[in-house]
Assembly symmetry: C2
Homo-oligomer: 112 residues x 2
């Protein structure tokens, strides 16, 4: 029986946390502020805050504070975070090939 690589396991635990993939995706092209990410995704402020803190601790995201009015805080991918771009783009391509409109509709229907 093959042994699971601990680095890969940790990466999967990270990436497999709810919202993490979508948050990283939002930051792929440009830095975003808290409220922008919150508006772009159906995530609550509580969890977004928690996830950004985690991603910062993991060294995947940097938090930048600009002392303007009103205060502007931007989240940017670090090199480590940006290195996930290929994986994220792969999933994006996969979803365009393999997720049908019907499946999307079903998922929405189940929510309501």
């Amino acid at each position: 029986m093959e042994q699971l690589c601990p680095r890969f396991e940790k990466a999967m635990q990270l990436f497999g946390k709810r919202w993490v993939g979508l948050i990283l995706y939002e930051l792929l092209n440009d830095a975003k502020r808290f409220s922008e990410i919150e508006a772009a995704l159906p995530i609550s402020g509580r969890l977004l805050s928690e996830r950004l803190k985690m991603l910062e601790q993991e060294g995947m995201v940097e938090r930048k504070v600009y002392s303007e009015f009103p205060v502007r805080i931007e989240y940017v991918l670090t090199e480590k975070g940006a290195a996930l771009q290929p994986a994220i783009q792969n999933i994006r391509q996969w979803s365009e090939h393999w997720i049908t409109q019907e499946e999307v509709d079903e998922t929405i229907a189940n929510k309501e």
Copy 2:
């Protein structure tokens, strides 16, 4: 503000479910039976059963029953499931570059 693609969102919700990435990874090279996956990952039987059922419903995994003794049930990736191979391999490569041994140790330490 850019609109999030619903197919991609659905894909990320799927992939972002705990254990899904690791289960798919286990099935990448060959079909496996329930007990093999259970032994390879620190997942409980309850969740493994739930996830396999979900992946089957999503058309990513096929459940094959062989009427031997003892009964042998194998889980195989469908074409749809196998199409995630590049994404999974990307995350694997990423983890080898970017997850340090120290990070792995910390994660283990926090568990205990």
